[in-house]
């Protein structure tokens, strides 16, 4: 039995207005995506070259810089995992994927004690429930990413490391591959040198994108004979380079995350809008059918009445 045309009309109206909202949100996310993607792509060369330079200088220097090899002396036995998610939802699996990936990472590193630091409200809620200690949470900066807004996060992380509260810091974010593909990624942020990490990789990890991402991604050709001149010294260069590298790593990761979020939201809104449009078409069709059958029924009633009179 077809539903009453009035009910269908009401449904159709709400579907249409939903579609309009989706369309508007898609456009907003789209424009933010274009902006942040441009920022992300522009920031990558600097980061890449800085990593290459670090590898190069590191080979020459025997300097045990804290940021590079970790603090000397007793270990605190704790590590920190930073999770960079978003403040707002409606972006398909963007947050869920990253959180799932992070929790899995915590499970595979069960022997270590992990504190959590979250960026974005979506990650905060999960972190509270995870049983790990949540040491800090920052609002997401994906709305208008800028270096100034990333600065407090960088400072907090650096302090946590340099004060010796944690031995290692990992950073979970979503790597922006394209508007369609974004990949949850975890890197070791500090200490910068990933010798230790390379061993971890072989023993317990097979997934290529997880840790040691930079060493693989940014591997420069092995250069055996080194005739490079360092001015003033390789140690002095490291001294200047490492703090800058940490900032750059965090900032670029946050940019990657912002681009991923906006792309994911745009695609989610697009498919929701498409689904709403399809539903509206179906409803229109059903409505026309119902209307037509009502008309047919009325006509047959009228002609039946007329036949009765004659």
């Amino acid at each position: 039995m077809p539903a009453s045309p009035r009910l269908i009309r009401r449904r159709l109206k709400s579907t249409r207005s939903t579609r309009k909202i989706m369309k508007a949100m898609e456009l907003v996310a789209g424009s933010k995506m274009r902006k942040t993607t441009q920022q992300t792509l522009a920031a990558r060369p600097f980061h890449l070259l800085l990593e290459q330079m670090r590898e190069r200088v590191e080979q020459e220097s025997h300097h045990a810089h804290e940021l590079l090899r970790g603090r000397p002396g007793p270990k605190s036995g704790r590590s920190l995992l930073v999770i960079a998610a978003s403040d707002r939802g409606l972006c398909a699996g963007f947050n869920n994927q990253l959180i799932k990936y992070s929790l899995e990472f915590l499970r595979t590193h069960e022997t270590e004690r992990f504190d959590l630091l979250t960026i974005g409200r979506r990650a905060e809620a999960v972190a509270r429930r995870s049983g790990n200690e949540l040491v800090a949470s920052f609002p997401a900066i994906s709305n208008a990413p800028s270096f100034a807004r990333a600065k407090p996060i960088v400072e907090y992380i650096r302090d946590a490391f340099l004060s010796g509260r944690v031995d290692r810091i990992f950073f979970a974010y979503t790597h922006f591959k394209s508007a369609l593909v974004q990949q949850p990624t975890i890197i070791q942020l500090l200490p910068i040198s990933n010798e230790q990490l390379a061993k971890d990789d072989q023993t317990e990890e097979e997934q290529p994108s997880r840790t040691g991402f930079y060493s693989r991604y940014f591997k420069s050709e092995p250069e055996s004979d080194s005739t490079m001149i360092f001015e003033p010294t390789s140690d002095a260069i490291l001294e200047a380079l490492l703090p800058r590298l940490v900032e750059t790593r965090v900032y670029t990761a946050l940019l990657e995350s912002a681009s991923s979020e906006h792309s994911a939201r745009m695609m989610a809104m697009r498919s929701a809008g498409d689904a709403a449009a399809e539903m509206a078409d179906d409803l229109t069709f059903t409505l026309n059918q119902a209307r037509q059958s009502a008309i047919t029924r009325e006509i047959s009633e009228i002609s039946a009445g007329k036949a009765a009179i004659e």
């Binding site: 522009a42 920031a43 600097f46 001015e231 003033p232 260069i237 750059t248």
Partner: protein, 140 residues
């Protein structure tokens, strides 16, 4: 003879091209890089980079960063900020310069972080101003 020159800042790639000579400010003084320079790794100071290519000359105001000459002679400059002469606005620069000087005057001691930041800003604005003024006097 020319070699590859790259100038990259955190938000853009300003140059990626062949050049004949580049003169850069480093903490130990201005250096000149030509083709077949030995591999070098050093710091970049605040100042002006001059590049020469095919008889033309271009100047860029930079503020701090890193410099590498690779095995293949490629010169890579990573600068915190870098502006071409035509991107500079003299009035904006002088305003920023004034601001930095005010902060320095107000600072209680020269150990202050704000003093150091202002001093760095002042240095940056001075090299920008120098470049902007140079352009102005060359009839543009």
């Amino acid at each position: 003879m020319s070699f590859r020159f790259k100038l990259v800042t955190p938000d853009r790639v300003l140059f990626e091209q062949e050049v004949e000579a580049v003169s850069l400010p480093t903490p130990d003084g201005q250096i000149e890089v030509l083709t077949h320079h030995v591999p070098l790794s050093t710091l970049l100071a605040t100042g002006i980079i001059q590049l020469h290519e095919a008889g033309k000359e271009e100047e860029v105001a930079v503020s701090g960063g890193f410099v590498t000459v690779g095995e293949d002679g490629t010169l890579t400059v990573l600068a915190e900020t870098a502006e071409r002469g035509e991107e500079l606005d003299l009035s904006v620069i002088q305003e920023a310069k004034q601001r930095a000087m005010d902060v320095m005057k107000k600072a209680v001691s020269t150990d202050d972080l704000s003093f150091a930041m202002a001093a760095a800003a002042l240095e940056r604005e001075l090299s920008r101003e120098k470049l902007a003024l140079k352009r102005k006097h060359h009839g543009k």
